[in-house]
Symmetry: none
Amino acid sequence: MYYVPKTEKGRETVEKIIKASMELFSEKGFTATSISDIAEKAGVAHGLFYFYFKSKYDILDELVKIINKNMRRYLKLNTMNLSNRIDMEKVGFTKFFEWLENNRNIYRILIDAQVHKPEAYMWFYETLADRYSQGLKKAMLEGQIVKVNPELLAYTLIGISHMLGLRYILWHREGLTEKELNDLNLLLERMLRP
Amino acid sequence: MYYVPKTEKGRETVEKIIKASMELFSEKGFTATSISDIAEKAGVAHGLFYFYFKSKYDILDELVKIINKNMRRYLKLNTMNLSNRIDMEKVGFTKFFEWLENNRNIYRILIDAQVHKPEAYMWFYETLADRYSQGLKKAMLEGQIVKVNPELLAYTLIGISHMLGLRYILWHREGLTEKELNDLNLLLERMLRP
Amino acid sequence: MYYVPKTEKGRETVEKIIKASMELFSEKGFTATSISDIAEKAGVAHGLFYFYFKSKYDILDELVKIINKNMRRYLKLNTMNLSNRIDMEKVGFTKFFEWLENNRNIYRILIDAQVHKPEAYMWFYETLADRYSQGLKKAMLEGQIVKVNPELLAYTLIGISHMLGLRYILWHREGLTEKELNDLNLLLERMLRP
Amino acid sequence: MYYVPKTEKGRETVEKIIKASMELFSEKGFTATSISDIAEKAGVAHGLFYFYFKSKYDILDELVKIINKNMRRYLKLNTMNLSNRIDMEKVGFTKFFEWLENNRNIYRILIDAQVHKPEAYMWFYETLADRYSQGLKKAMLEGQIVKVNPELLAYTLIGISHMLGLRYILWHREGLTEKELNDLNLLLERMLRP
DNA sequence: AATGAATGAGAGTTCATTCAT
DNA sequence: TATGAATGAACTCTCATTCAT
């Protein structure tokens, strides 16, 4: 953000601009959305955008942060408890797939970010992996899962869920079948059990 | 491709245009590369581009196909042999990481395609997963690896290698350490052994 | 018009753009006139054109409306008085030919519109015919001219003046001779007298 | 035409090009039709067009001539017989409206010509008026119709039929009603009877 | 007579960004 | 803070036309 608003009105304006851009980037994608579109949807003058944000890329950055926060709040990575059985649920996959179903278009913003604001995309996954690996580390110490480099494991699991999310939810929109879910559980269980 | 050249000269021209765009998209990315840039680098009039290709997106499509072909030829997914020990080498990860090291910028084109020509990106991974799962299926039938839905397993493995490739090769450029490689082998072995 | 200006300065700019395009379309025709030509003549950046107008066709629309207004103001179709003698003067032909002599190039814009913005051309003549037929209807009711479908009569008279205008004024630039004017008066008188 | 073919095959090629352009100009209009479109539809190589025709305008010229010929053949202006009753039929209007119904799109080419090849458009109507006025002159000499400048009368009648054709056939596509036809007959009869 | 390849001027249009108020 | 006006670089794409064979 370029200028941090000091008044209530200013904060509301920024809020409106962020909301509008989140919606438009979701619907039409980053490239197809112009600043004018955003300003119009937010109900403010075109030029005001540049009072608060440096550029189109600047706001993309902002959005990635917000999505990151939302997703982490939803996944509750830090309170992971892997005792007893190990499965998708425990590893956070279930929550992630759920989130993805409900935020298909939001995820699209992330993908846009990968191209148009790569640092932000990197930051998104590194932050995620960081929290994730903390949870995994704890589980390792408590003997709940196999002991390996936690960060490596975090990226491994994120990689799996990311690709399965793309394939089964975003591309084909059918979700995983009962059988596939069982198989996935099996694979996770074998990989992770202590 | 819009127009298929009929003479040797035409074929050479197309070759030059494809080569130039592959290089430029790699270096500067899709958005920052203009048709004029491509034409100039290829040494032809920019109008000629549109004689052979419908649009900028059209050639991106073409490039994705070429990259797919190259990568598959390199990975030799169909001749996978998983007997004896299961490890990165056997699963094709080693070759993929190798390819990635040598084609960092090329992989960037794929990422661009995800945004600018999503169908092509989808096609890329579906084709890859298709071949991959055929190899995996064979290995399952021969009792070399665990029996699960081969397609699911293919996407799972692709997901892992994709994300690790991003993290350890493209973003941080350091590759995986000895220790990490061992851990990864361990995880794969546990997940896949029959 | 795409965007209606809100300040005096804005209104002046629009005025300049309209004036410039009216002149250029008149002189060089619609096709041969580029947006840059217009902007240059108007003394503004060419991008500003698209701030106020959606496209080249959009401004053609605007011009047709303006020409329509001008012409109607000049012809005063509603205050037609056909009492006493019926002749060119009474029917509005004289004024039309006069207008045409003085606005040769403007009429060309209309012809361009017939090809490039047909709806606008249609609208032009329908509006004209509408007003005209109201005047004719009144004259019929007062027994000043023959009673027929007023709209049909309006188009008939417009057709005559249009074609004679093309032939005698725009193409050959000589105007009608005394003899021809007499004959035309005769024809009109015979056709229209009660 | 630029080069007049000397062989049978050449004549056929020209025939194909003319046919293709007539169809395309009818459907899409002059501007929206490219030489490539024409060549493709005609089934010949792009470059060959320029062997036979100087330019896009050159072939428009050709088409106008052909349309002129077709229309005149259909209207049979020279064999007009105005004896007995004078009405639309006698004056050639009926045939013209018929032709127009069946050649809506062809007439559109003429309108295109007015903008893109004005000389050809002029020539079209002057030729038509010339033939027409010859027929009218004969009728005048035989005392069948009022005696006025035949050329003026020709343009007058052409003007009427042109505008009514636009309004009732091309724009609104409904044709004239019984009542309107009667009124039109009345007007013509009053104007023309000796 | 015919083909296929190549040219390049130029067009309309978009849009991020800046500026004056 | 906010508005409306203005800028102009840059882009994709079209297409009439020419040329070599």
